[in-house]
Symmetry: C2
């Protein structure tokens, strides 16, 4: 175009109060409702209790399609036919079978040992290192084909990294991926050391499909902001993991289980729940800002838990019913139901996932969504950079 | 408040097309001009060629105040008096003298070796690891005092990490920080191995002060988005480093120097520049989207380069004048001047900084701004999460 250069903050947005040509546009706090991007990847329709990946119901996909089929839907834009699926599976298997760089493998014990703060910290560092070790160039300099290939590498590596960090942290031998196994089966195997029952793998797979994308959440937005600067895919995913680690975003699916543990038995539900609700305490696993119906993810996880069966499920169902009743009585009109955290926690517990792995597991599937959003953002081709309003003392003041 | 819980995406923004109560708010692409936050930290007034930190001219601060005074301005809200400065210096010295965690030190050679893609990749991984090793908790759970203390730790550590990564990458012994030295002096010493001349340290210090903050740039916005989820400070700064690594944001101050090298001599300026401008090629180091005047940072870096003196400065001045003339002739009305990249590169070169360290040096000072913005964001207390408009095929479609 012109003879000007892209250089530090060349493209910086005019400040709001600087008397520049561009007006300051006032919007709700937190950019709530502000359209920051267009996407063909999916949407959430809260009033209908419905969300979708491209044109398909996410819940239907989770019930009737395999994870790699849905992954293909995000990467290629549609569900694969038999031939496309075979090709995609073989491509993924090859990526998974490509050993991690020796530098990453060597650093995993150190990264695992440093994992002192949050369950996603280790994954954040490991993904950052992996992208650097593999020499990911800025997306600005890459064609879509290359970004997609890098995305497959990152997504395929994240379960391997998460499992390895878990094993390393607990002083266990790291287990190599087995390219002949599907994601969920191999993931559970790499964590626990044993090939899981088919039912466990399928339950976790459903959870993974369910959590690939969910509207324009904060981690997805973070990935798009970073990618919009032209930075490399590793920078975008590292930032997204960081955003997901925020308690206001990624939450902690293990907390609802902790609540079940604390209640302990059916006869203690009321005594445990009532005083807490009356004193305004939060009930982990209940309520959602968007869904005014049952959370469609929660319903699917509930069904999945029931299929797995067992005392924990029976107990969880009793607790759910009673808590919803108590909430309806004490918080009338709020329409508070179990959210995805409640039965997702039950499912993962029954499937043998350690609780500390619930959030990293969430990150591994959400990465499919992040990468797809990065690819979309690169095509959108415009840096995302709003303005701020200066509200400090008038400048310039003379130096004291 | 209520009995609902903070849980995964509880707070997720309604999707734009979902028929929810909140309207979809259309704004310019890339959120240009949209007010995403209020800040008392500073502003850019592009038409006036002016930017400020709190109420003070950033350029005046860079010329007349020390880096730690301006750091204090960002942390505490005002410039320190003599007593406050002594206290702050001693506090910083103590933080700097606190050894890095052994796990971080041990991982630096690996991180440095993996630094294959961009100059900020190593710093991104090292900061992520440092925050985890020090057990930074989510900002949501911390008081301001603790976040500020963590911010001092990260900011004080970044020059040490950047220098150590450089030394490790080049097979050189890592040099420990010397708490008796100021930031710029010690930074140059930790990189080059020799205590720099006072003039070099002061020139780099001016650059550092100049680059602490500059309006609501993409990395600052990224730090605020991540912090708004309640994530830990390490997540926010790691994400910000990632955004800064984007070619559309952080740029590469060494590129303008590469141009000077390519031109080589005064008699070759026209032959080198004219055909490139005429063919629409970018001239590294010239032009700015906001400033319609001289870039105030560029003017200060120009004066600083002249004070250092030497053939490179003389040559750069001739090139600058001639390029501006050629641009005025071939791109009339565009008002293209040298930007900050041009003379900042000259200053850092003269001060003995290796070119590959220009961008990491930028990141170390900008981190002061990032941390201050995170603290502001925590006080703002609202997750930043806009919406997207779904533009794919209508859903739900039946599964094929």
């Amino acid at each position: 175009m012109s003879s000007t250069t892209i250089h530090p903050e060349n493209d910086m947005a005019p400040a709001a109060s600087g008397g520049l040509a561009d007006p300051a546009i006032d919007v709700p706090r937190g950019l709530k409702g502000v359209i920051a991007a267009e996407t063909a990847l999916g949407d959430v329709r809260g009033r209908e209790g419905f969300y979708h990946y491209r044109q398909y119901s996410a819940v239907e996909l989770a019930e009737h399609r395999r994870l790699d089929e849905v992954w293909h839907l995000f990467v290629e834009g549609d569900l694969p036919d038999a031939q496309q699926l075979a090709t995609f599976r073989s491509r993924i298997a090859e990526v998974r079978a490509t050993p991690l760089p020796a530098s990453v493998v060597g650093a995993l014990p150190t990264i695992a040992a440093a994992k002192g703060a949050g369950p996603l910290d280790g994954l954040r560092t490991a993904v950052s290192l992996l992208a650097a070790a593999e020499g990911f160039a800025p997306v600005l300099d890459l064609d879509t084909h290359t970004i997609v290939a890098q995305g497959l590498r990152i997504v395929a590596s994240m379960p391997v990294l998460a499992a390895a960090l878990y094993r390393a942290e607990h002083g266990l031998d790291v287990i190599e991926p087995d390219r002949s196994l599907d994601w969920a089966t191999d993931y559970l195997r790499m964590i626990t050391g044993a090939t899981p029952p088919e039912a466990h793998a399928r339950a976790v797979e459903r959870y993974l499909v369910t959590t690939i994308d969910h509207g324009f959440n904060a981690s997805t937005f973070t990935a798009r902001v970073i990618a919009s600067t032209g930075a490399d895919l590793g920078a975008a995913i590292t930032g997204a993991i960081g955003a997901l680690s925020g308690p206001l975003h990624g939450g902690a699916p293990s907390r609802a289980l902790d609540t079940l543990d604390a209640i302990g038995s059916v006869d203690r539900i009321d005594d445990w729940v009532r005083p807490r609700v009356e004193s305004g305490e939060k009930m982990m696993g209940f309520g959602h800002a968007v869904y005014r119906t049952q959370d469609p993810r929660s319903e699917l996880m509930h069904r999945t838990a029931v299929e797995l069966g067992g005392d924990l499920v029976d107990f969880a169902e009793v607790v759910e019913r009673r808590v919803v009743e108590i909430l309806a009585e004490l918080k009338p009109g709020r329409e508070l139901y179990a959210n995805v955290e409640f039965y997702a926690g039950v499912v993962m517990e029954l499937a043998g996932l350690p609780r500390e792995m619930f959030t990293p597991t969430f990150a591994t599937s959400r990465a499919i969504g992040w990468v797809a959003h990065v690819v979309e953002q690169v095509h959108a081709g415009k840096i995302i950079r709003p303005s701020a309003r200066y509200v400090g003392p008038p400048a310039p003041a003379p130096l004291p």
